[in-house]
Symmetry: C2
Subunit: 257 residues, 2 copies
Amino acid sequence: MTEPSPTAAVLLIGDELLSGRTRDVNLQQIATYLGPLGIQVHEARTVPDVQARIVEAVNALRAAYTYVFTTGGIGPTHDDITADAIAAAFGVGIGEHPDVIAMLSERYAEMKTEFSPARRRMARIPHGATLVANPVSGAPGFQMENVFTLAGVPQVARAMLEDIGPRLRTGAVVHKVTIRGIGLREGDIAEPLGALAQEMPDVAFGSYPWFRSVGDNGVHLVASTIHPDLIESVTRRLEDIISATGVKPERIVEGAA
Amino acid sequence: MTEPSPTAAVLLIGDELLSGRTRDVNLQQIATYLGPLGIQVHEARTVPDVQARIVEAVNALRAAYTYVFTTGGIGPTHDDITADAIAAAFGVGIGEHPDVIAMLSERYAEMKTEFSPARRRMARIPHGATLVANPVSGAPGFQMENVFTLAGVPQVARAMLEDIGPRLRTGAVVHKVTIRGIGLREGDIAEPLGALAQEMPDVAFGSYPWFRSVGDNGVHLVASTIHPDLIESVTRRLEDIISATGVKPERIVEGAA
């Protein structure tokens, strides 16, 4: 018997995501990083910069999923409270990590920048956590058991994922195919698509309409499966379903959908 | 004594958001629609197209917040299960709503399109719900007590908000100012910003660094308050904090940040 594939949750931390000031991109980049490792994101939550709310979400998610990835709130300002919240969630202390102090001291000396008390806040790491490298801007993320704490700045979060990847248990990779029908309407394919989903229980089928304006509308059909040998047959079946409506099916290259 | 301002949560439903296929825009558009009504979004969750997960999230959120807005999963395909999940969450039945059947019958007749069994699925509304108009593509959303169920297609979700707005209790509007410092680093302003946050407890301060590349980096400082008379003084204080570092502060016009 093989072990089930690992699961993941993403916890996005920050008032700016809930006020609408910032549109999150980290969920998508974490999901697309984990997908090829065979780790599926099963849930995401967005919470404000409020310690009790972060603690509650971290504890709910780390109990339910193999891995949790948090983003945001690890900078030097007063609203950066994620490290303290993670320590509170795990019931451990927090303090300046000597390796981070050494690394940031050197970095700021090179930059001829004062290593101020605010910047030293970025060296505060929950006791027992291991570091996650930040090659972009220096101040590290950290791993506390199954919880990985990343920066909110997308370029930094992306770089941190590279350091985390080798630590993760991988699972069965999900293979996908996307077929687009321009001008197609979901109601035109819903019945044969539902029948196909019944017929092929090892494949997950999704139907995603878009509507930008009259004429710029249509449907993407997506099939996902851990059985790569099913991809070619399922592709032909989806193309047939679209063709039967009089619309030309177009296969979308992975990553360009 | 005035009643506290209403709160909101957003529940984003769909496998495509968790796989990374689709980057959500609905949280941002719901938050920016509600902001001027004095309704703050306090939490968002993203769950897959799995009934038990939708039910659990709906019930957690509707108990905790004044309003809940769901997006996604109300189309005609087999993976559109939101209406059933909402009915299950409220413990009510679900069936074809006669007003929706009449409206869609007429619409599809005009379009010379078959009103197929799949399309009739879009007329299934939980018992006791009221409808939310969809001027874009016809099939309505609905309101069940404090839960509003919207389409996932952003243009449709946006149109549905217009129909919901007049039903909402409004609160104290949050006024904001955003000041940008190009090249500014958070560590340079963290201490005076933290002190200002202590001094002005009626204002929430956020610090949002961006880093696209060397040279295209900086910090946005945001102050938010329900007291409009504080905006001018807090603006000057933030400008002074940025100026003291040698960086030129730039006030960002609301909505363009």
